[in-house]
Structures are given as C-alpha cells and as structure tokens.
Amino acid sequence: MRRIAGRTIYTLIVLFVSSIAVFYAIRLSGGDAIAARLPASATVEQREAFRELIGLNDPIHEQYLNYIGGVLSGDLGKSLTNNADIFDMLLEHGLNSFILGATAFGLVFIIGVPLGMLAAVRRNSWVDSSVMTFAVGGMAIPNFWLALLAVWLFASTLGWLPSAGCCSPNQLILPAIVLAMEGIALTVRMTRSAMLENIEQDFVRTLRAGGLSEKRIVGKHVFRNALVPIISLAGLRIGQIIGYALVVEVIFGWPGLGQVLVNAVLRRDYPVAQFFSLVLITIVVLSNWLADVGYTVANPRLRKA
C-alpha cells in the first residue's frame, strides 16, 4: 500500500515537472503560432492582438499558471490553427492511436513470447538460431527504416497492403508491425533467456520428481515463471511504442496523437502541443507505474502476505 501511495505521489510530481518542461521547451523552440493563424502580411496591430489573445505577452510563468489552471479546471482550450476543441481532438486521435498502439502492443506478446519459447525449447537448434537472428536483427533495424522498407516491399512493389492511411485493418498491418518490431525482438530475447534461466531452477527438478510431464513443466511452470519479468516490464513497452509512434504515425499517415503532436509542434500550436505532450507523458508515466504494479502482480514473491 505504501509502495503504491509513494508511487502515486511520485507520478504526480513527475507530471507536474513535465508540464513545466514541456511548456517552456515548446515556447523556447522559436517560431510563432502567428504563422499558422494570421496571413503573411498581418499588421503589427493584428499580430499584437493575436499575441494578447493567446496570452503570449504575459510573463511566461503567468502563462503557465493560466494554462495549468485551465487544464485542471477541465478547460483544455482550442487549437490555435483550427479552433478545434482539444478534448474532441484527443478523443478522435486518441482512439486512432489506441487502435494502433494496442495492436502493436498485442503483437509484441503474441509474436514475441511464443517465438522466445520456441527458441528456448529448441535451444541450440537451427530454429533457435533463426529466431535469435531475427531478434538481433529486429533490434538493429531502426524502425523508421523498417517502415520505409515495408512500404517499399509490401505496398509499392507487391501491392499487397496500402502504404498509408487510416483506419481499415489492412492499413493497420504495416504500421502496427513496424511499431511492434523492436518490442517483439526484445520480448523474444527476454522470453528465451527467462525460459532457459527458469528451466535450470531447482523447482523444475521437484516437479519432475513429482512425475509431471516435461511438456507440462515447461509449458506451464517454467513459462509462468518466465512471464514474470516479461509481464512486469510490459509497461515499458507501452512507453517505447509511444515514443516510436511519433515517427511511425507520420510515415504511415496514421492520424493518431503522435502525428497531431508533430504537426502541432511544427505549427507552434501551443495548446495542442502542450496538452498532447502531457497526454503522452502521462501515459508513459502511468505505464511505468503499471510496470511496477505488473511486477508485483506477476511475481507473488512481492505480494505482501
């Protein structure tokens, strides 16, 4: 309980610090929302009026307080570019991101865990070598390049899948796989080594002595033990996927939070950029927290008796 309470306070502090960091960084990055909103030859008066309106003329700490006050009271404000309600944007793009991210997240485990188990069970065979080559390669290929290669091969050359767009299942396949690739590779490696580590544990001998079949021991007990680090670190995969989504969503034209955030930063659409950064950071922080909880859940040794 204390652990969870401490973690919650810590999470809140992190969010608070992040909100300040994000707020300042986006403002420091130069450029001006005016370019996105006003015509090229807007007069000095119009520019001033605009600055005044969006509060750019206030001291920056006041701007921050106003902003954070607004967010806390539920007023997220509107996009400077198209006046869209930021909450609506969050719902729409958040759903898209969720679809993509959840699929990628699923793939990480649906593909990564069985492959890792296979490699462990067939240790030192050609199956093991192929799976591990795949895993090492999967970690070495940067996902932006993988995305380009995937489009080139499956969309441009073979024409099997659409190269971009949202949100049909066909359009989901490529970005989801690309997004998941590094996670899959890591999960394969982790699963394999966790399986191998656990298969040498004393408890396996006990179960063998208990007359259980090898299949049952490996498939149930060793696997369940190997899952402990995998599940407990699943939260970290979420953070990783979110980071990569910034690039992958842009390449595949997937209108998720990442794409919107990149666009908003480019346009200096402060309210959108700030809020969406915070949303992503919140998800990351929460998923790290989840990793903590996951560790406890997956590992009975950490549950308090």
Binding site: F50, A84, A164, R267
Partner: protein, 584 residues
C-alpha cells in the same frame, strides 16, 4: 511542338509561328499580333496559344486536356452520380477563408466560385456572374449578377452582397494590393459595377484567384471576420460553389459534401449545369513524397496533385492513369537581405552569385526535368513572359568569378572570398521540406565553388516564416522560398515593391526601376502598355536581382482513368469539380 492539328486547321504559316512561340523565340504579344495579321479570330488564337504555351508539355495521354471542351476522353459515357472523390494533395491545407488565408488549396474551387474565371484557352469566362463587360475607356467593369442566388447557408447573394464582399476584401485582405488600381465596387440593380482608378488591363486577374472567390460576407462577419478567433474557414465556410465545407483538419484532410441546392454554373465550358455529380470530395495531405505515387497506383486515391518529380515517368507509363503536366505559376526564389549590405548591397555581387547557379542542372537533378529554369521573375508560361530575360543569369562559373572579383571579393586562404575584412559567409535559411532542402543544398554547394560560403539553417515552417519576415538584419541574410500564386506579375509586385518591406519583400530591396515598372503595369490600359511594363519589370528584375530566380516546377496532376471530367489546365491553379464523376 509542331502540333499537327494546328497545321491542319490553320496552315503551315501558323504552325511555324506556333513553333517559334513555343521555342520562346517570339513573345506572346507579337505572336498574337501575327495571328491577328494572319486573320485568325480571337477564340481560335486563344486555343492555339493555350496549346503551345512555351514549355507547356500538357497531358501525355489524354492529349486534349487543354482543349476547349470540358469532357475528357470517353465522351460517349454518361456521367454517374455519387461517390467520393479521394484526392491526394502535396501541400498542407490552407484555411478556407479567402479573405484571411495565406494561400489557397483545391477545396476553394469546390466550395467557392469566382465572379469570372479562365477557360481552358485562357480566355475570361463568366462564373458566378452570368455575363460581364468593360467600358471602352477601361474604367468601368460591369458584372451581371441575376437575383435569386444564395450561398450554402441560404443567405441571399445578390449584386449588393457581392459588392459588399469585394469592399471587405479591399478593406481587410492582406493581398488586396494585387488589385490596387480598383477604386470602388457598387451594386447597381442586378449588376456589380467595378470602377477603376485608372484603366488596367490586369484588372480581372486577381478576381479569378482564390482570394476573390465569393463569400457570404454576412456569415463571414458573424463568425468573426478578421478576428483571430473567427471560425470562418476552419469550422465552417459559406460560399456559392457546388460543394459545402464539412471537415477541415490541417496537416491531415479536408472533406466537402455536395450542395444539393446548387443552381448550376454560368461557366460555359462546364458540361454539367446542375448540382455536382460527386457526393463528396476528400483531400488528403500526403507529406511523404514517395507515398503519393504509390497511393494512386494502389488505388487508395483517385486523383493526385503533385506527385514527386521522380515518380512522374513511372506514373505516365501506367495505363490506368493519366498524367497532366504544365508549367506551374510558381518558382523557387532566393532572397538576399539588403540589410546585409556588406554581402548583397552591390549588384555585381548579386549577379556573380546568380551566374554561379546551374539552373538547368538543378531542373534535371532535383525536378527530374519536370520544370524549367527561370532567369527572370516569371515562369515561361506567363502571358507577358519576355524571353529576353534569358540574356541574364546564365550559368557561367568564369563570369561569376569575374563579377565577384570585380565587386572586390578576393579569395581568402581557405577559398572563401573576403572583401574589406568581411568574409563572404552567411546563414542561409531553408524550410524543412525535401525538395526545398535539396535546392538549398545544391545552391549552397554551387556558391562554394565560387568562394561563397552559405551555411544552411534548416528550420520548420513556423520558424522559417518568422526568420524570413523580420525587419532589417532580424531577417535571415538569405532564404529560399517557394511561391505559388496564379498571377505572377501581380504577386511579384508584392515581393519586389519597395513598399512591401519587410513582408513579403524579404530581400528588403528598393529598386526604383522595379517600382516604376510596377506603376506602369498597374496603369497599363491596353495589351501593348501591359507588355511594355511587364517586359521592363522582368528585365529590371533579371538585371538588378532583388531576388535570385532559380526555377519553376511543373504542375502535375494525375487521375485514375475511372475519373472523368476532372480537368486541371494551365490557366487555373486547380481543377473545377462540377463535371467530375467516377465510373461505378
């Protein structure tokens, strides 16, 4: 070149003349004059002119894309109603408010109508107006606007509403200067009367652009007018075109829906005089250049504006697709901030820099040949293009070095030139976009060959504009930009005119010859005066170099052959969608 139908229809003499014109040996003015002497009527002359605009390589498969009829290819097919046209678009989406937008995108041609427009031959034809006329002294234009028309919201758009809209542009639009010689707009019964300060041959030009497309000014005012909080053009729009604004997401897409109550168009070259065939049109911004071609090849989109240059040849070889190409009203220009006097103050230096640029090489390398070098301010397509600008700014490294030597720049130890203790090294601003960056890198490298070091500063668009538009030395010493507007001379008056410092005269250039030429252009009452002014403007520009012209690219349009009646042509920036339909 040597278009055989011209020979068939009008004889050898005309065909030869057309070849000369196309090879830019004769100016448009003298070409038209000669046609007149040969007894060719105005309409036919316009057709010939359109067909052989210099450098105009028109459609490659459909051949007749610039022909005067509206239908494409299979004329025997009956249009089918319904469906959504999915159009890929290479640029970001502008705000759908003609009055306050920075630029305009294809949706303007679906949502709004102009009072008059260009037909495929480049002739002025009515659009929202049912007819128009100009007085003999050129001081009064009269547009017929029969009553009974409404905007999407149901608001009455009569002569008074149109006049009020135009007056609002005069008062509010940043680009109103394009039509500076216009004095007043008044409603007179069912007509809009436009009074000129002076007779001006170019008066209708601006009125055909997106900026003068007719808006229900009441709605515009209600939604906020020029107020930055206005939601006009973002959340809703109110025009008289065949489609209504539905969704607008910059960086992503725009959706418009068919306006069922559209009364039909007055534009004669449209075949469809009722509501649109399509149910809706969705434009998708595809920022990944390579993705655009792939998406139309895979059938993810039906039409495409602006494939990457290197993909055009492949698209042309695809029998399911038709590619339409013509020179674009646009160009890559390089600003040289005169407040960095030590670098760009003297004309010899500017000319030296200009001669170091291999424009043909850049067209071939960067645009894969889909474009043309520009030696003066205008694209070659322009009606008033003067081929004499080719006497300037040709690629010649020796000459470049000679001019720089003459200007007093001496090669330093590391090869970078120095003058009066000042090293020829400066920041060179460029927006982070693949073609622009390639152009900037190519240019910087060519400068380095003649001992000038331009340090690239690649920034995103919001920053680029901020750093371009500062006053004095706050603006970047040099910046590359790409402009896209359909009436070059009028737009370039804004870039070159001394009263537009610092925006958009990013070079902060004060050139009396150019200012004078602008004044003559805006008072040109007939073709001759106009051509004289335009020629002077171009030659002054090519010689004095307020900006370095580099090249212009082709406007390239691709459509799936299942799409009919989608006809981009050279005179208008974008296609109209009134006739567009998709095979079921």
């Amino acid at each position: 070149m040597g278009q055989s139908w011209i020979k068939q229809e009008f004889g050898q003499e005309v065909a030869e003349l057309a070849d000369l014109y196309q090879a830019k040996e004769v100016s448009r003015r003298s070409f038209l004059k000669s046609l007149g002497i040969l007894g060719i009527g105005a309409t036919s002359a316009a057709t010939i002119l359109a067909a052989c605009s210099p450098g105009d390589s028109t459609s490659t498969t459909g051949g007749g894309a610039t022909a005067t009829t509206g239908g494409s290819g299979g004329g025997s097919m009956e249009p089918v109603s319904g469906g959504t046209l999915r159009e890929g678009y290479n640029r970001d989406i502008s705000k759908h408010d003609p009055i306050t937008t920075n630029w305009y995108d294809p949706a303007f041609f679906a949502i709004y109508e102009a009072i008059v427009s260009n037909d495929p031959s480049g002739a002025t034809v009515p659009q929202f107006a049912s007819d128009w006329s100009v007085s003999d002294d050129g001081l009064t234009y009269t547009f017929d606007v029969p009553s009974g028309k409404t905007s999407h919201s149901g608001g009455v758009i009569d002569a008074e509403a149109v006049a009020e809209f135009y007056r609002t542009i005069q008062a509010e639009s940043f680009i109103a200067g394009l039509a500076a010689p216009v004095d007043t707009y008044e409603a007179d019964g069912d007509t809009v009367v436009m009074k000129m300060k002076n007779a001006w041959i170019g008066a209708l030009g601006p009125h055909k652009t997106g900026y003068w497309r007719i808006v229900n000014i009441n709605t515009w005012q209600e939604l906020g007018g020029t107020d930055v909080e206005s939601t006009f053009g973002t959340e809703s729009a109110d025009g008289t075109g065949p489609f209504t604004h539905e969704e607008w997401v910059p960086g992503s897409h725009v959706l418009v829906n068919k306006w069922d109550d559209y009364p039909g168009s007055n534009t004669p070259f449209f075949e469809n005089d009722g509501p649109a065939h399509l149910d809706s049109i969705r434009w998708t911004v595809i920022t990944e250049a390579g993705q655009r071609a792939t998406q139309i090849e895979n059938g993810d989109i039906d039409t495409l504006i602006g494939p990457a240059p290197q993909d055009i040849a492949r698209l042309e070889s695809n029998s399911d697709l038709t590619v339409i190409r013509h020179p674009e009203w646009s160009g890559f220009h390089l600003s040289m901030n005169r407040d960095y006097d030590e670098f760009f103050g003297d004309v010899l230096t500017r000319q030296g820099l200009s001669h170091s640029l291999d424009r043909v090489g850049m067209v071939n390398a960067i645009l894969a040949g889909n474009g043309a070098p520009t030696y003066g301010p205008f694209p070659t397509t322009d009606r008033n293009y003067d081929p004499d600008v080719q006497n300037f700014n040709q690629f010649d490294v020796d000459l470049a070095n000679q001019k720089l030597d003459e200007a007093g720049w001496v090669a330093g130890d590391d090869g970078v030139r120095v003058r009066d203790g000042v090293r020829f090294e400066f920041d060179y601003l460029v927006e982070d976009e693949s073609v622009q960056r390639a152009v900037a890198e190519a240019v910087a490298q060519q400068f380095s060959v003649v001992g000038v070091q331009a340090n690239l500063n690649v920034v995103d668009r919001a920053v680029a504009f901020e750093q371009q538009s500062g006053a004095g030395r706050d603006a970047a010493p040099m910046s590359l930009f790409f402009w896209l507007w359909p009436i070059p001379i009028d737009v370039l008056t804004l870039f070159g005119g001394s009263q537009f410092i610092p925006v958009p005269n990013f070079s902060h250039a004060v050139e009396p010859r150019i200012d004078d030429a602008i004044a003559s252009w805006q008072t040109a009452a007939d073709e001759d005066q106009a051509q004289a002014a335009a020629s002077e403007f171009q030659l002054a520009w090519a010689e004095q170099l307020p900006f370095l012209p580099i090249m212009n690219q082709n406007a390239t349009f691709v459509h799936n052959n299942r799409v009919h009646g989608w006809q981009p042509f050279v005179w208008n920036l974008y296609p109209y969608y009134n006739d567009t339909w998709i095979e079921a």
